[in-house]
Symmetry: none
Subunit: 211 residues, 4 copies
Amino acid sequence: MRLVDRAKKRQRILKAAVRVFARHGFYVSRVSQIAQAAGVADGTIYLYFRNKDDILISIFEDRIDALCDLVEKETAKLDDPARRLRRVVDLQLGTVRKHRDLAEVVSINLRQSNRFLKQYAAPKFNRYLDLIAGIVADGQRRGVFRSDVSPRVFACAMFGALDGLTLTWVIGKSAPERLARAAEGAATILIEGIRKRPAPAPRRERKGGRT
Amino acid sequence: MRLVDRAKKRQRILKAAVRVFARHGFYVSRVSQIAQAAGVADGTIYLYFRNKDDILISIFEDRIDALCDLVEKETAKLDDPARRLRRVVDLQLGTVRKHRDLAEVVSINLRQSNRFLKQYAAPKFNRYLDLIAGIVADGQRRGVFRSDVSPRVFACAMFGALDGLTLTWVIGKSAPERLARAAEGAATILIEGIRKRPAPAPRRERKGGRT
Amino acid sequence: MRLVDRAKKRQRILKAAVRVFARHGFYVSRVSQIAQAAGVADGTIYLYFRNKDDILISIFEDRIDALCDLVEKETAKLDDPARRLRRVVDLQLGTVRKHRDLAEVVSINLRQSNRFLKQYAAPKFNRYLDLIAGIVADGQRRGVFRSDVSPRVFACAMFGALDGLTLTWVIGKSAPERLARAAEGAATILIEGIRKRPAPAPRRERKGGRT
Amino acid sequence: MRLVDRAKKRQRILKAAVRVFARHGFYVSRVSQIAQAAGVADGTIYLYFRNKDDILISIFEDRIDALCDLVEKETAKLDDPARRLRRVVDLQLGTVRKHRDLAEVVSINLRQSNRFLKQYAAPKFNRYLDLIAGIVADGQRRGVFRSDVSPRVFACAMFGALDGLTLTWVIGKSAPERLARAAEGAATILIEGIRKRPAPAPRRERKGGRT
DNA sequence: TATGAATGAGTATTCATTCAT
DNA sequence: CATGAATGAATACTCATTCAT
């Protein structure tokens, strides 16, 4: 079989797996369901993947890599760190919106196994977090972002915020437009939250100190 | 058997389950492991819980309710919406920090079953989101928070941001102090992100419009 | 506790067990169901019976003994072997009709365990078969019954015939009168079947030999 | 896999199940015992049967159908109703004698589950009873059988009588010849019992009426 | 390569029985 | 005597994975 055909069949199985995982969850899904959905025999799955876990891992890796590549390419076109962040928000939530099943798998199923999460997801995941943190660090260097927040913390918070919106969107079975509007709001909060105040006007309400 | 003894044994089982679930994940954990960890017979578990799922649900419900109660009580003591949000951040991440196992269970295992997530978690979860959204809406009415972001979106984003920090903290097996410092940063981003600018100085960087 | 009270409670448990076994079958019935139906605690059952099997055995033994006693007493009042058999038919089916639950237990549940059947039921059961066989043997000696059929075979066949009627009656959930009418028919067949022909008129239809 | 191979393996499992059920009884038998006896893996059983109950049901259905088919074919060759009944007796007890295990399963285990008995057995069982009743009704129309006994009652009684003989034969672990001789006796009783008396000589013993 | 029949390890749950109160 | 909470052995059934065809 030609390599390209092989790759095509692999993709067909992955697509089927995304559908099945999204509907039932990783642990409840059966390999035979995926095989049926992909139109292949049960045994064929094992010609393309080591085991059931490997399917989930492959979905995740393919997707996060694609997202990272896209983010790298797109942010390279922009200069302003704030606009770069805005672009990341749009890209992450845009991917989610276009591939709801995939969103469900990545957002929810990803956390189905501690072992899996700790062993496989973390490294890949870090590439994405580093991309965001890099943008923030750059912004801080250039004086547009406040420096009292760790870029890494911002990255985690930003990813979490977008993932939280995704989760409630997926659970709530809301319309795609709602996610688009949520993206607006999230972008505003995150960017304004990290932006250095143009002129830190004397604020009185904070004089009471923090708790 | 006295009611208080019964409740005590129930708690013992739940505590054991939290430990076991945190270490292995819900699906990988065995009921017999929980029984052993709790020092009871396998069958005894079923005198207190309908089934394995019921244990996870009970953990979640107990915890989220306790957190909501705490948040309600504590925010009632404060007036300033910004300081109220700050308090919520501290309470959520403080709970997490004090009960790492629990954090792992709620943050990670919670998403282990789509069915579970959609059926049980959502309603309880909404109570928490509504609390946050309520604080934001109040701040908007009083003019301290910007009105161009939906309180609900902010609540989801805020929960997600804190959950994202929790997740990376748990996965990374970092020290408690790191979570404390992350809480600082997250609070800053979120509160400054939603705060209405004291003097919306003419900003030039947005003139380029959006992409 | 006085012996009479003890006996009373034992009977209460047996009565409850008959109801429960009749409805669900021996293996499907739960000891706790019997306890509840008898209004006692689960553990109390074991103050009166060794185990679950012992309950079924006790039901059977009590009942077959009572039937045997009754048959002995009643047939002693009669002299004609044919009328004695008729009496046995009425007594067996009469017992069944009056205690449908019991019939169901003895007819059906009795066979639920090979071990039980072979070990316990057989001996008790033989007393009943011997009673019938005794009547037949007597009739043969006195020349009213044909001698070409073993009394034992007749006893088994007769018991089986009545048990077969009982089974279909119980399964079919028919009215008591139907069983009464069936008793008529069965008595006729069995008694006329064993009765020596008054005048064995030359029969031609048998000359063809047997198949 | 060829259909014929599949059918062969199914039969192998059924044969093994008959052996196992006969020895231990349905409820006491373990699926793994059947699998081992059939030389297949536990899971393989479930490729051929829905569950344990389904195995018992299949045994019963296969057997009763085969017996009915045989009875239909054989009785069609005869004309005399009495000889037809004789043939049925021989066929039923002949089947039993040739397949003692099967007899044990059908005679004893058949009654192991009320639910099973009422739900599955009854309909199939009726086909057999109807065959016998049909022969009797025909004999009555032709004036060779007495008309004061319902054909249905006779069928139940006849089946019961033969089943009773089978039961005692199986329990008593007697030799096959004993069953053959018992068949003789049972046939005589049943056929003479239903046969219309050639010359109803004035009988005096019945003048006392019934008790 | 592809198949799908066969495998058999693995586990939640039940329930007869016990025994401390 | 009576209770019923606790026990823990015991088992049908599933399903990821393999391998002969």
